[in-house]
Each structure stands twice: as structure tokens, then as C-alpha cells.
């Protein structure tokens, strides 16, 4: 287990280094002079010089990269050129919207998909299976941002059960959760449809395995064999999808925030793009990618918990 974890950890660190190099190259190397890009053609010489100085553009590339990475490691994400505040502060305010939204949506998606997938697989070909599969077929085809607009139309504008947008802050957690509920549903349902399909097909694969027949020969009923022997084995491919979904939910959240006017990372990143504030874009993108890589690391560890073949006896 230690060996396995160490291996995954090494891979995590390598991935982070590689990702940071890619982001650094796209933002700071490919445009040529990021400072004049940010300020546009009509920039004054002294403003340009000041920005160059702030971004450390006068240093050689490796030094700039190392400075940036050292900053990231110590929590210094640079200072936004447009907001004139540390990026770390900007991010800190907003991540408490984006991250809870992604986790909320993932929870919903899992809670819906697991029972749906298991019911469909255990009643393969029956009316419940056909209904669930039909619903998921539709679910995967729905764009989440459009679904969000429809939810607003029905539940906020017509029924007035929820507010149409905005975020009241975490002073009142119940209110905060309530304002994240519609966005989370909009994000979760299409993902739940995908997850339920994976869960079903993975379970059906397992139900065809020899060891299920062995379990039945021991005297387990169909249902007992499903729960004791198929579900846990079926989790292995399902975990992969959950890991991938987290990154989709985080990214999808950026879009959904637009529909609900939520002050999350999405808003920050779009404002920064239109203001050409590369410093903010670079750090926020790195943060998103960092989160995805860490989640995948967690999924790898979860694999080992589920599948003893990955653990090596010491």
C-alpha cells in the first residue's frame, strides 16, 4: 500500500510540474510580451515598464517560471493588474462558491445515479430498466446551462420557490445552500445520467462474471449476489468516471455560475479575460488544474481501497 501510494504521489507531482509548465508557456511565453498584450497598443511607456517590473518580465524565462512556482507554493499568486489586489485574496473569496457547488453537484449526482444504475441493472430488460435508460438517454443530451435556464424559469420565475440568482454568503449556511441548490441540480442531473449508465453497464459486466455464478452456487439469491459480489467490483470503473466528473463539474460550474450570477471563479475568470488580466487567468487556471489532478490522485487511492490487486503485500 505504501509503495502504491508513493508511486501515485510521484505521478501527482510530475503531473503538477508538467501542467504548470504548459500553463506558463501558453500564458507567458507564446504571446511574446504578456505585458504589452495586457495593456494593449495604446499603453503608456511608464505603465508598461511598471507592469513589466511587477511581472518580473525582465528576468530570464527559467527564473520567471521558478518565481511563479515558488509563489504558488507559498500561496502568493501574484497581484491582479485590474483589481490591484492579491490574486490569492480574489480566489479565496470565490472558491467558497465554486468548490461547494462542485461538491454539492457531485453528491447529488452520485446519490441519484447509484440507485438508478443498480435498479436498472438488477431488472435488466424490465419496465424499470427501460424507463431509467430512456431518462438517462435524454439526460446526457441536455446542455446543463440550458437546463439551468429552464429551472430558473420554472422554479424561480413562475413558482418563486428559489431566487433566480446571486449568492448571500455563508453567514447563513441554510440560505447559502438553498441558493446553490438550483445550480447544483442543473449540474448534477446530466452527469447523473452518464454515471447511472456507467454504473448499469459495469454492474451487468460483473453479473456475467464466473464468480457471480460461484456465489449463486453457494446459495446466494440473485439480490444477495448482486449486492455482495457485483456492486463493489463494479465500483472500480465507476470511480474513474466520478474522478473525471469532478473536473467536468468544476469546469461546468464556471458556466452555470453565469446563469445564476454566482460570484465564483467563473465570474472572476471571465472578467479577467475581458480585462486581459493574464496574471489572474494564469493562477486560476493553475488552481483548477491542480484540483483536478489532486482529485484523480484521490481516485487512485480509492481504487486501492476497493481492489486488493493494486495493494502489494509488504
Amino acid at each position: 500500500m505504501i509503495r502504491y501510494t508513493a508511486g501515485r504521489l510521484a505521478s501527482l507531482i510530475l503531473s503538477l510540474i508538467a501542467a504548470s509548465i504548459v500553463i506558463f508557456a501558453v500564458i507567458e511565453v507564446i504571446p511574446g510580451d504578456p505585458a504589452s498584450f495586457m495593456l494593449g497598443v495604446n499603453a503608456r511607456e511608464d505603465t508598461l515598464a511598471a507592469l513589466r517590473d511587477q511581472m518580473g518580465l525582465n528576468d530570464p524565462l527559467p527564473v520567471r517560471y521558478l518565481n511563479w512556482v515558488t509563489g504558488l507554493l507559498t500561496g502568493d499568486l501574484g497581484t491582479s493588474w485590474t483589481y490591484k489586489t492579491p490574486v490569492a485574496d480574489l480566489v479565496a473569496d470565490r472558491i467558497w462558491v465554486s468548490l461547494p457547488l462542485a461538491i454539492y453537484a457531485l453528491t447529488l449526482s452520485t446519490l441519484i445515479a447509484f440507485p438508478a444504475g443498480i435498479i436498472a441493472a438488477s431488472r435488466r430488460g424490465g419496465p424499470a430498466d427501460v424507463t431509467i435508460m430512456g431518462a438517462t438517454q435524454l439526460g446526457v443530451a441536455i446542455p446543463n446551462f440550458w437546463f439551468a435556464m429552464i429551472l430558473v424559469l420554472i422554479f424561480a420565475i413562475n413558482l418563486r420557490w428559489f431566487s433566480a440568482g446571486g449568492f448571500p454568503g455563508w453567514e447563513d449556511p441554510a440560505l447559502a445552500l438553498k441558493s446553490l441548490t438550483l445550480p447544483a441540480i442543473a449540474l448534477a442531473l446530466p452527469q447523473a445520467a452518464i454515471l447511472a449508465r456507467v454504473m448499469r453497464s459495469s454492474l451487468l459486466d460483473m453479473l456475467g462474471e464466473d464468480f457471480i455464478r460461484t456465489a449463486r452456487a453457494k446459495g446466494l439469491s440473485r439480490r444477495q449476489a448482486l449486492w455482495r459480489h457485483a456492486v463493489r467490483n463494479a465500483l472500480i470503473p465507476v470511480l474513474t468516471i466520478i474522478g473525471l466528473q469532478f473536473s467536468f463539474l468544476l469546469a461546468g460550474g464556471i458556466i452555470i455560475e453565469q446563469v445564476f450570477f454566482l460570484p465564483g471563479l467563473g465570474r472572476l475568470i471571465f472578467q479577467s479575460i475581458s480585462a486581459r488580466d493574464l496574471i489572474v487567468v494564469e493562477s486560476v487556471v493553475m488552481l483548477l488544474v491542480f484540483t483536478v489532478i489532486v482529485v484523480n490522485f484521490a481516485v487512485d487511492l480509492a481504487y486501492a481501497a476497493v481492489d486488493p490487486r493494486l495493494r502489494r503485500r509488504a
Binding site: F211, K218, S221, R232, V306, P308
Partner: protein, 529 residues
């Protein structure tokens, strides 16, 4: 005492008839063998008794067990019977166990479902049962840490944990090596005696049947063609199909003199002190890598026209040796030459050497690209020639005729052929470049006995029509004896015995050869009558 009585069992799955009027009786404390070739309905009979038939199955007739009719028993009651009164062991030990649970807990599960035993009690009983079936690994191991034979012991422990009255074993040793097979069969026999169980042993292998069965039921295409006490069925065989099966099982191609000619000047294949190791995963992060010796100082020669057998169990290094001789993989030490030229020449194969060698593989279903026609498949080795022969279609037709097929088969796709026909096509492919040496890598192991006999005849024939040397690799001592002049025995990457075939079989020198010969199930000679 009659334990189980199957009467007029007829089974259809959907529109397909599977079994017709099958009758079977099983006595307590006796071994009843069901035998027959693939598709005979052996396994379906077993699943019908277990009540585990696939969806859409329709049965008529009766299966009487303990005074009740299993076909009329409700599913919850069947669940109580399965594992408790009737246990079952399956063919494929590698997949029959759930990979994410420990072996102890999987055995304990049988106990926990049917009794009120606490978790600790069940685990303790499971540990005892694992010891009883001769397993010497702790119960907290996972299936992937065990060998095939060990896993089969776990499956048996699971099936007999509650001392069922009836045990059904469906091809329990088919996936195992002969020495392991012998031990598992001995275990099953001792369990039958100890628990006074009835055992239904399903196997295609008549030698196994002859070794252990008390009564024999022979099936063909869903019908029982013959049944009765083992000695009677084997000595006073009545049904022509049973006779044919027995003849095919003990079939020995008539000894043929190899293609006679003056001794050629070339030395043939020479393998000298070859060692091939594979690195094993590191045990600790910075620890030294251990190496697995797949081939350990192996030396052998095959003279032109010589027919050599190689016998060994799985993992002994046979496949590695095949790849090394074919020049597909390099070796760490030693040399392999064919007529003096090295077979391995880095990334660019030496075509002159490669042209002289061909191979026939075990699996008739995996040996061909399903998307190419037979003509293209057979002529693939022409890639080894500088220019394709101008009379290509004629040569393909000739090669197909040589192996007993027709020239028009060249336009068909491989899925139109049966397993035996596919092996003929594989042999045609091997012959197309007129090689000096062919390696038969378990080439008849996947075939039913009657087909196997035909292919063995074909191989024996080849050596008489042209000067062809071959290396016939098999785990089955019986078939090697039939078609070779000299035999090598391989164990753990070493060649432990090398001598003329008859001599090795009659007076084996090495203890391992002796063990192999003793373990091989034996079909008595009276079968030839």
C-alpha cells in the same frame, strides 16, 4: 442408495433444443462421470440440477433429490439447497473467485448464509476447511495471490464447507496442469469417501473418467448415448459413438519412418546455453529488482528432419523458448542458430533464417485476423520472400489441398471454419514457405478428441512427405508420444530430460519426468478392442 435421479430431462433455451430425455442417477459415496465432446450438454445438465439455467430456459421431466423434485422447487428453497445440500465446482479457477474478497471470507460466506454461525465461527470453520482441502496459505489472502491449483482448492472448500450430500464438479481440472490435476482428483476422491457424498464429475477427458469414475454417462448432442458401471462402459462398449470417442482418445498415429534421404550437411537448429530472465516488480522502492529465470541455461538441437517433442507444465518456459527460437525475442545469454545463422538479429529480421521456420499456435480462434480471407491469411509468410511467387494462387491451392481442404476455401473468411479446420489452415500457413522447421505450440490442445486425432494424423503425415523437422510442444504427454522421435522434458526453465521418446516414457530418469508420467491420467489398453 440413490441420491439424485434425473428422469426424462428435456431442456430448451428459447427455440433451441439443448437436452432430450436425459436420465441420470447418482449414488451416495460414488463418482458418476458425465462425458462427451463440447456441445454435448454436459454442463447444461449440471446447471439444470443446480437450478441455475440461463433466462428463457424451459424444462420438462423430473430431477428427484431427497424426495423432492428440484424442477418444481421454488427459488428461495433452491437457495437453501444450493451450497448446503448440493455444492458445485466450476472449470475456470482463475475467474471463479471474487477478486476483491479474501479467500477465507468467501469460504465463510457459504457457512454464514446457511447457518447461524457468527462471523468469527464461520471464519474459523473456513480456515479448517481450507486446511482440509490441502491449502497451505493463510485465509486472509486474496485470490490473485494464489496459483490456479490453489484457487481450485478454495472453490472446492467453498462447495464442501457444509458437507453437501451431492457435489457437482464441472471440468474441475481441465484448466490445470497434469500434476495439479492428479492432486485435485485425489482430493475429490478422498472427500467422496470421507463425507459419503455423491459426486457428478463432468469432463471431456476419458482418461480422467477411466481413472476415477464408478459409473459413466456418455452424452452426445444433448442425449445420453450410453451409461452404466465404468468397467462395463469401458470394456464392453456398446454405442458406436463411445467406441469412436475411446478410439480417438487413445489414438496413436501409426509410426511412420521420417522422410528418408541422405543426411544433410546442415546442422539444423542449435540452442546453446540460453538464458532469458524477466525483471520482477521491486519489492521495496529502492530495493534490488529480482529476476525471474524463464529459461535457465537451455541447450537443445533439432537435426534436419527430426521430430522432437517438448513436454512441460504451464510456466515452465515453453512459450519463452518458442519466441526465442522464432527470433521474436532476444535472450540474455547463449546462442540460437539455424543452420549456423543466428535467429535473432535485432529489429531487422534476417529473412533467410526466418524463411526456414514457421509456427502453429494453440488457439484456433485467435490465430487469424478475422478481417482477412483465408488466401491472404495462408500466404502471409510470403512477406519473408524478396518477391511474391508468380504462381501464388496455385501455391495457396496446393497448400490448402495438402492439409485436406479445398482450393475454393481461399476465398472464405475464417469464421466459416470449425476449430479443426482452422488448425488445418494454420498448418497450411506454416507450410507455404516450405520451411525446414515448424514449431507446434500446443497445436492440438484446444481441440476435441476426435478432431485432435485427425490433426495428429495430418502432422504425422507431413513428416513423411518432405524433409520437415518439428518441435512439438505440449503439456499432454500422450500426444507427444504419438508424433515424436525424441522428447525433452522441461521444468522451471530447465531441460531436465532429453532422450528417444520410447526410452523416456518407459524408463524415465529424472524424478520430475517420473512424477509427470505417474500423474497423467491413464486410459486402459482394453479400449482398443
Amino acid at each position: 442408495m440413490t441420491l439424485l435421479g434425473v428422469k426424462n430431462l428435456t431442456l430448451n433455451i428459447g427455440p433451441h433444443p439443448i437436452l432430450h430425455d436425459v436420465d441420470l442417477t447418482v449414488e451416495a459415496g460414488k463418482i458418476t462421470a458425465i462425458t462427451g465432446e463440447s456441445g454435448s450438454g454436459k454442463s447444461m445438465t449440471a446447471l439444470a440440477i443446480m437450478g441455475l439455467l440461463p433466462k428463457g430456459a424451459n424444462t420438462t421431466g423430473t430431477i428427484t433429490f431427497e424426495g423432492g423434485d428440484l424442477l418444481q422447487t421454488s427459488e428461495p428453497d433452491l437457495c437453501d439447497i444450493r451450497g448446503n445440500d448440493i455444492g458445485m465446482v466450476f472449470q475456470e479457477p482463475m475467474t471463479a473467485l471474487n477478486p476483491v474478497h479474501t479467500i477465507g471470507s468467501q469460504v465463510a460466506e457459504t457457512i454464514r448464509i446457511h447457518t447461524k454461525a457468527s462471523k468469527t465461527d464461520a471464519m474459523a470453520q473456513a480456515a479448517t476447511m481450507l486446511k482440509r482441502v490441502g491449502l497451505d496459505v493463510p485465509p486472509d489472502r486474496y485470490p490473485h495471490e494464489l496459483s490456479g491449483g490453489q484457487r481450485q482448492r478454495v472453490v472446492i472448500a467453498m462447495a464442501i464447507a457444509l458437507r453437501p450430500k451431492l457435489l457437482i464438479a464441472d471440468e474441475p481440472t481441465t484448466a490445470l496442469d497434469v500434476t495439479t490435476q492428479a492432486r485435485i482428483l485425489t482430493l475429490l476422491q478422498s472427500l467422496v469417501n470421507e463425507f459419503q457424498m455423491g459426486l457428478i464429475l463432468i469432463t471431456h477427458d476419458l482418461a480422467v473418467v477411466a481413472d476415477v469414475a464408478d459409473t459413466i454417462t456418455v452424452m452426445k448432442k444433448g442425449r445420453v448415448v450410453e451409461s452404466g458401471p465404468a468397467t462395463r462402459v469401458l470394456t464392453q462398449t456398446q454405442h458406436p459413438y463411445t467406441k469412436a470417442l475411446l478410439a480417438a482418445s487413445s489414438h496413436q498415429p501409426a509410426t511412420r519412418e521420417p522422410y528418408a534421404s541422405q543426411t544433410p550437411a546442415t546442422p539444423g537448429l542449435v540452442v546453446q546455453n540460453v538464458t532469458r530472465t524477466y525483471p520482477l516488480p521491486r519489492q521495496t522502492i529502492l530495493g534490488r529488482r529480482a529476476h525471474f529465470r524463464a529459461l535457465d541455461n537451455v541447450s537443445l538441437t533439432i537435426a534436419p528432419g527430426e521430430r522432437v517433442g517438448l513436454v512441460g507444465e504451464s510456466g515452465c518456459g515453453k512459450s519463452t523458448l518458442t519466441r526465442a527460437i522464432l527470433g521474436l525475442e532476444d535472450v540474455q545469454a547463449g546462442t540460437i542458430t539455424l543452420d549456423g545463422d543466428p535467429v535473432f538479429t535485432g529489429n531487422r529480421p534476417n529473412l533467410t533464417v526466418r524463411r526456414k521456420m514457421q509456427v502453429v499456435f494453440q488457439d484456433p480462434y485467435g490465430s487469424f485476423n478475422p478481417r482477412h480471407r483465408v488466401g491472404r491469411l495462408v500466404s502471409e509468410p510470403w512477406h519473408l520472400l524478396e518477391t511474391k511467387p508468380p504462381n501464388g494462387p496455385d501455391l495457396i491451392a496446393q497448400a490448402l489441398t495438402d492439409v485436406g481442404l479445398t482450393p475454393s476455401d481461399a476465398d472464405k473468411y475464417i469464421h466459416e471454419f470449425s476449430g479443426g479446420q482452422r488448425q488445418r489452415i494454420a498448418i497450411a500457413r506454416a507450410l507455404i514457405t516450405q520451411p525446414d522447421l515448424i514449431i507446434f505450440d500446443e497445436a492440438v490442445s484446444a481441440l476435441d478428441v476426435s478432431v485432435r486425432a485427425q490433426i495428429l494424423d495430418l502432422i504425422a503425415d507431413l513428416g513423411t512427405k518432405r524433409r520437415l523437422a518439428y518441435l512439438f510442444i505440449s503439456h499432454d504427454l500422450h500426444v507427444v508420444r504419438a508424433v515424436t522421435d525424441r522428447v525433452l522434458v522441461m521444468q522451471k526453465g530447465r531441460i531436465v530430460e532429453d532422450g528417444p521418446t520410447a526410452q523416456v516414457y518407459d524408463t524415465p530418469q529424472h524424478p520430475y519426468t517420473k512424477e509427470l508420467l505417474a500423474a497423467a491420467p491413464h486410459l486402459p489398453d482394453f479400449a482398443e478392442v
